[in-house]
């Protein structure tokens, strides 16, 4: 490419127009970014809990700096230098720098390096080996023929109850989610205020994780967290579904073609009629597909929710995990079966989607 460019410019001869310089991002802003990097370095130095140090002998004196913050700082400077030489815009360089700083912070927060270097040692140690071997040699007879410890309930019944909870929560949750989505979108809502309010409520509902909802409802319906009915799980999954459906479907409603809405208005329809005849048919396919998606999520989540003590296979899973070395094969069986059930539900919902849409 460059060779071609040089040749043509040489041929162009005397009538030469001054070429534009490639745009350079302002140096001052880059210096600002370096200051940010230095501040981050200072912060990491301040908050480090690892005491290893790097020495830098200079003959006259020996400089030292904490090892990991210094490496992080050098990476930051390298990223900035790379951005400078590729003439990246300041915002993009800032973004790259933020990613590096944030990753360093997150990594040190979860002790990334310490844990990674331990892995080879753990692989050969007894307990981890035993666990992994147990998980990959599942005990299928336990899954099919055993009872839940201390009761006469068979394990396959726990699977059934998990599916039941997912079905009930999906149907109720998606229906309420549909109503909330209608209220949340300014296209179909009564007024701007009502849509803003519903959106705010919805983002609060969505920001509490499903475990949080399960524990809250367990307390609200007066049970203890263990051995409680399925009600708390159904309510928790319901809230979880409402949040997802209201968000996704609200966005679909925002994007609805405004033409039919205007036509319904011009025909003298009131708000509810307009939503029913012009909005609902337009978002029906996305509603069906979100409902199926949410059903899949519910199967996964209801298995996990049992961990905090609600009914279903999750409860059995956490009991088996707590049995430690006696339960590895059983845990393996439950997990493998979970993968199979999720795959089956996936296939089912793919089939329904193809049939309907």
């Amino acid at each position: 490419m460059t060779a071609v460019a040089e040749r043509t410019s040489a041929e162009a001869g005397p009538a030469r127009v001054t070429r534009p310089e490639p745009p350079t991002p302002p140096l001052v802003n880059y210096l600002g970014l370096v200051v940010v990097a230095v501040a981050a370095f200072a912060f990491f130095w301040w908050t480090r809990d690892d005491t290893s140090v790097l020495y830098l002998p200079l003959g006259v004196t020996t400089l030292w700096a904490p090892q990991w913050p210094l490496i992080g700082f050098l990476v930051m400077l390298a990223v900035l230098a790379l951005c400078w030489f590729t003439r990246t815009g300041v915002m993009a360089a800032f973004g790259a720098l933020t990613v590096v700083i944030f990753s360093y912070w997150a990594g040190s927060n979860i002790h990334f390096i310490d844990r990674i270097v331990e892995v080879p040692g753990r692989l050969t140690a007894g307990n981890t080996r035993e666990q992994l071997i147990g998980y990959f040699n599942p005990d299928w007879s336990y899954l099919l023929f055993s009872n839940v410890a201390g009761t006469s309930r068979p394990i396959w019944g726990e699977w059934l109850i998990t599916l039941c909870m997912a079905v009930v929560a999906t149907i109720i949750g998606c229906f309420i989610g549909l109503l909330l989505a209608m209220l949340a979108s300014p296209v179909s809502s009564f007024s701007k205020t009502s849509s803003q309010t519903v959106k705010a409520i919805n983002s609060v509902v969505r920001s509490i994780p499903d475990v949080g909802w399960a524990l809250l409802f367990a307390a609200f319906i007066g049970g203890t967290a263990y051995g409680l009915g399925a009600l708390a799980a159904v309510l928790a999954l319901m809230m979880f579904n409402i949040g997802i459906v209201a968000k996704l479907l609200g966005e679909s409603i925002d994007a609805v073609d405004p033409g039919p809405l205007e036509a319904a208005d011009a025909a003298g329809a009131n708000l509810l009629q307009r939503d029913r005849v012009a909005v609902l048919p337009a978002v029906m396919p996305s509603f069906v597909s979100y409902s199926l998606y949410v059903f899949e999520l519910n199967i996964r989540a209801s298995a996990a929710l049992g961990v905090v003590g609600v009914a279903g296979i999750g409860g059995e899973l956490s009991r088996q995990i707590r049995r430690m070395s006696q339960g590895y094969e059983n845990v393996g069986a439950i997990l493998w079966a979970l993968v199979i059930v999720v795959l089956l539900v996936d296939l089912l919902s793919m089939w329904v989607r193809r049939k309907l849409l």
Binding site: P260, E262, A266, A267, A269, P281
Partner: protein
């Protein structure tokens, strides 16, 4: 029937859509509105049923004064004023019959339309409207499966199902090919004469306006600059409305998003020079 008295429309961004418009339209008239894009044709039409609230003067439809603030009164008014759009604005995923039944919204109780249970009378009205526009055989097809001309007929049927006194049509044939456009306009004209409905139509096509309308209103920059029977709308008058010579090139450039005055002279010359090949 429809009276504009010194009507102004000023948009929230300060743009003047209508500027002191005084027009009186009698019952049963078929009026075509012509003008360049952005001259205020759509605004004029949408002011009648309150889709665009007017900001000054008085606008009367029949005996009622249009009041953009009063929602329920506006709805009552809209039930008597049907509207047809350039993009048909049918709901694509429901059947043609249900699209037509949208026109019955104003006379159907809300709960009935919520569960989609329309009465036998409403259905009869819808079927008769479909019969009038000649596509009753498609009643249970999806609206999105129809061709452009058929979709516009569905839209006309929806409006007829309202049992309207006035039909507003915002460039009803701009998205259709010329023969279909003539057919659809012919249908509209026939129905309008049969039922004695007042009809206001926005048009880009001069020849269509001359062939079908009783009366032509010319607009420029939000003002009415010509108002008279079709016979009076000679080429010179129209040239005055458009403010330029009425050669084929200019009619074509009337669809141009920017007005030609804004462009440098040589660019305009280039556009105009390139145009004659496209002339029909």
């Amino acid at each position: 029937m429809i009276t504009f008295e010194n009507v102004d429309v000023i948009y929230p961004n300060g743009f003047k859509g209508l500027d002191d418009v005084n027009v009186e339209i009698a019952r049963g008239e078929f009026v075509a509105i012509i003008g360049l894009s952005g001259a205020g044709k759509s605004t004029l039409i949408r002011a009648v049923n309150g889709l665009v609230p007017y900001t000054g003067g008085t606008l009367t439809v029949g005996e009622t004064v249009v009041d953009p603030k009063n929602k329920s009164k506006l709805r009552r008014l809209r039930s008597k004023v049907g509207m047809i759009f350039q993009q048909f604005n049918n709901v694509g995923r429901i059947s043609v019959l249900n699209n037509v039944l949208i026109g019955r919204s104003a006379v159907t109780p809300t709960w009935r339309s919520l569960i989609g249970w329309y009465g036998a009378e409403d259905k009869e009205v819808a079927f008769q409207s479909l019969e009038r526009v000649g596509i009753v055989d498609k009643a249970y097809n999806r609206a999105s499966a129809l061709s452009g001309g058929q979709q516009q007929r569905v839209a006309i049927a929806r409006v007829l199902a309202q049992d309207p006194e006035v039909i507003l049509a915002d460039e009803p044939v701009a998205s259709l090919d010329p023969p279909t456009a003539r057919k659809v306009l012919g249908d509209l004209r026939r129905i309008q004469q049969d039922l004695g409905i007042t009809c206001i139509v926005n048009m880009h096509h001069l020849d269509l306006a001359r062939d079908y309308a009783d009366r032509i209103i010319g607009m420029r920059a939000g003002r009415v600059v010509f108002d008279g029977p079709t016979e009076e709308a000679t080429d010179t008058v129209i040239e005055d409305v458009y403010q330029r010579s009425l050669t084929a090139e200019d009619i074509a450039t009337a669809d141009f998003p920017v007005s030609l005055e804004d462009l440098p002279a040589e660019a305009v010359a280039g556009v105009v020079a390139g145009e004659p090949d496209r002339k029909p």
